[in-house]
């Protein structure tokens, strides 16, 4: 103790610190992927932050220019890998708009249901991961248990746990499997109680509250200026949800609330996500109640694969159709489209320019995480290095989507 006191005494009242450049990442558990933050530190205070991204850049947009439209679905899976069905849906909608077609109603319900499952899977992970970054491990372990249930459901539908690639232009790949409905009903019964568990774990956790409440505040003006969307924007008090304001698929038939908070701090963003999971469960239940029987794929031989796969083996026309679509893809009329959906992270938009060939001339992904990460420039009241971790976790960037 004495040594320390003497040291401070010698340097005078103002304890001069040297400015330090700190590399946080690219390999760091709390950057949730390969993000490198170059921080200019004054003691423990953060003076400047400069995110360096691109460590996971795979050139999705450039690759897409050499793929047919059906081949692009697996690429979109790998954007936000926590919620692939949403990405598939966004891309399918953009191409369908260009083609001027709509998927059958049953397919739309299946897609929306899967997108909402994906939303829960994305939100449940960050609901647990943000507290884990701040030292509360428990919630993440429970979150993983619930995420496993969702993965099992997705596996039942599509055969894949993560990269489902289940959407097709003009519908979905298959119909729902037998025995799926009781499983998902069971999930819908169990999950709201589990959400309550997370809240009980963290709502009164004083350390968690101290680390998030009033920390990393983004005002509504700043949030709009910085282009934030999704829960990050709604936590700043801006009431905007594409599902309600520009309804796509069958969202106009569903009844759900748009969750907003006014505080704009890390805790508000966390709360928004927790509440949104409840709404997603409600949406899934309504989908299950309303889902009609019918085709799961549009009946257009030039666009969709033959519904009855046995036909391919016995009918010449079906074989040609199948070969044509797999080898050359289908042509999309000349034009351009920008189509956005409310993905779990925010506005996920696909801007496609078509030159009339089976491959897009240009595909631009408006990735919500890419834009949301710029929220780092708008936060106030995050002075300490440790606050930066809370802010980063609450903005919930998925690096695969940031880097495209």
């Amino acid at each position: 103790m004495t040594e320390v006191t003497e040291l401070i005494g010698q340097q005078g009242e103002a304890f001069d610190t040297k400015e330090v450049l700190l590399n946080l990442g690219p390999q760091h558990p709390s950057t949730h992927g390969v993000l490198r933050l170059v921080l200019e530190l004054d003691g423990e205070y953060v003076k400047r932050v400069d995110p360096h991204i691109g460590y996971l850049h795979r050139g999705t947009e450039k690759l897409a220019e050499s793929f047919t439209y059906t081949q692009i679905f697996p690429l979109t899976d790998r954007l936000d890998y926590l919620c692939p069905p949403s990405n598939n849906l966004a891309f399918a909608l953009a191409v369908e708009k260009l083609l001027g077609i709509e998927a059958p109603i049953r397919a739309q319900y299946i897609r929306v249901m899967m997108a909402e499952l994906a939303r829960i899977s994305g939100h449940v992970l960050i609901t647990g991961a943000l507290p884990m970054d701040l030292g509360a491990m428990t919630a993440l372990l429970y979150a993983m248990r619930e995420r496993e249930m969702i993965m099992d459901l997705l596996e039942m539908i599509s055969g894949a746990r993560m990269h489902t690639s289940f959407c097709r232009v003009g519908g979905v790949r298959e119909d729902l499997p037998d025995g799926f409905l009781p499983k998902i009903r069971e999930f819908c019964d169990i999950f709201p109680n589990r959400i309550r568990d997370y809240e009980r774990l963290l709502e009164n956790n004083r350390v968690f509250l101290k680390r998030t409440q009033g920390i990393g505040v983004i005002s509504a003006e700043d949030a709009i200026d910085l282009g934030l969307s999704g829960p990050n924007l709604r936590a700043s008090g801006v009431d905007w949800d594409i599902r309600r304001d520009e309804p796509y698929e069958i969202y106009d038939r569903l009844d759900f609330n748009v969750i907003t908070r006014d505080e704009g701090d890390c805790y508000a963003r966390w709360q928004c996500r927790v509440e949104e999971m409840r709404e997603s469960v409600r949406i899934i239940e309504q989908c299950l109640d309303q889902m009609p029987e019918g085709p799961f794929q549009i009946d257009m031989p030039t666009i969709a694969f033959p519904v009855d796969k046995d036909k391919v083996h016995c009918s010449m026309e079906a074989l040609i159709q199948h070969f044509d679509l797999s080898a050359y893809g289908f042509k999309v009329p000349k034009g351009e489209v920008y189509s956005a959906i409310e993905a779990p992270k925010g506005e996920l938009g696909f801007y496609i320019i078509s030159d009339g060939s089976p491959k897009p001339f240009r595909m631009k992904v408006r990735a919500p995480s890419f834009v949301n990460l710029q929220g780092l420039f708008g936060v106030t009241n995050a002075r300490y290095l440790a606050d930066m971790i809370a802010v980063l976790g609450s903005l919930d960037p998925v690096m695969a989507e940031v880097d495209k």
């Binding site: 690759l63 200026d225 304001d245 034009g335 920008y338 189509s339 801007y351 631009k364």
Partner: protein, 178 residues
């Protein structure tokens, strides 16, 4: 999807006359073409006009129309949070591509413009920090241009790349500009 409204067209024609081309309404978005020197003025007008209020910049996208001329294009997608309207502004650029930056209007334009610079070499004049964003410092060439090979150029780290070297462009130094 937002619906077509004549409001955007009439407001723009009233203020800018014939300088802004109307490209029509398709798939929920009204599109306009503007010359590069009017981009900032048009964006500010759209953002601040009390009846339109396009306050949210969704996206800025670079396009390479090679071999068509003029070769490059920037596409801006704006959204009006109060009115739930979308608009697209397209701006064709000659080679070498230069366009004024809109970072003064929306801060979110910062990274979108850095991306367009990184991928297409479109230079945004007045951008506060125009560095590469995805590729590393010192990377040669602009990877999303149509004449850049899909697998990159062959070198000791990339044995599968195409033969040749990236075209050097004395005007647009590929180094990060200050």
């Amino acid at each position: 999807m937002s619906v077509e409204t004549p409001l955007i067209r009439t407001t723009i024609t009233e203020r800018f006359g014939e300088a802004i081309d109307d490209l029509g309404f398709a798939h929920g978005v009204h599109a306009f073409a503007a010359p590069p020197d009017m981009i900032v003025e048009l964006c500010r007008f759209l953002k601040e006009h009390p009846a339109l209020r396009f306050n949210f910049l969704s996206d800025i996208c670079g396009v390479d129309h090679y071999p068509e001329m003029p070769r490059y294009e920037t596409v801006y997608h704006l959204y009006s949070l109060p009115n739930k309207l979308r608009v697209r502004i397209k701006c064709r650029l000659a080679d070498p591509p230069r366009v004024p930056s809109v970072t003064g209007i929306w801060r979110t334009a910062n990274w979108h413009e850095r991306e367009a610079w990184d991928m297409y070499g479109i230079r945004f004049e007045g951008h506060p920090d125009l560095r590469r964003i995805y590729m590393w410092e010192g990377f040669e060439g602009f990877p999303q241009r149509k004449d850049f090979p899909l697998r990159g150029y062959k070198d000791k780290l990339n044995p599968f790349g195409a033969e040749g070297t990236p075209p050097t462009q004395p005007d647009l130094a590929t180094k990060n500009i200050p």
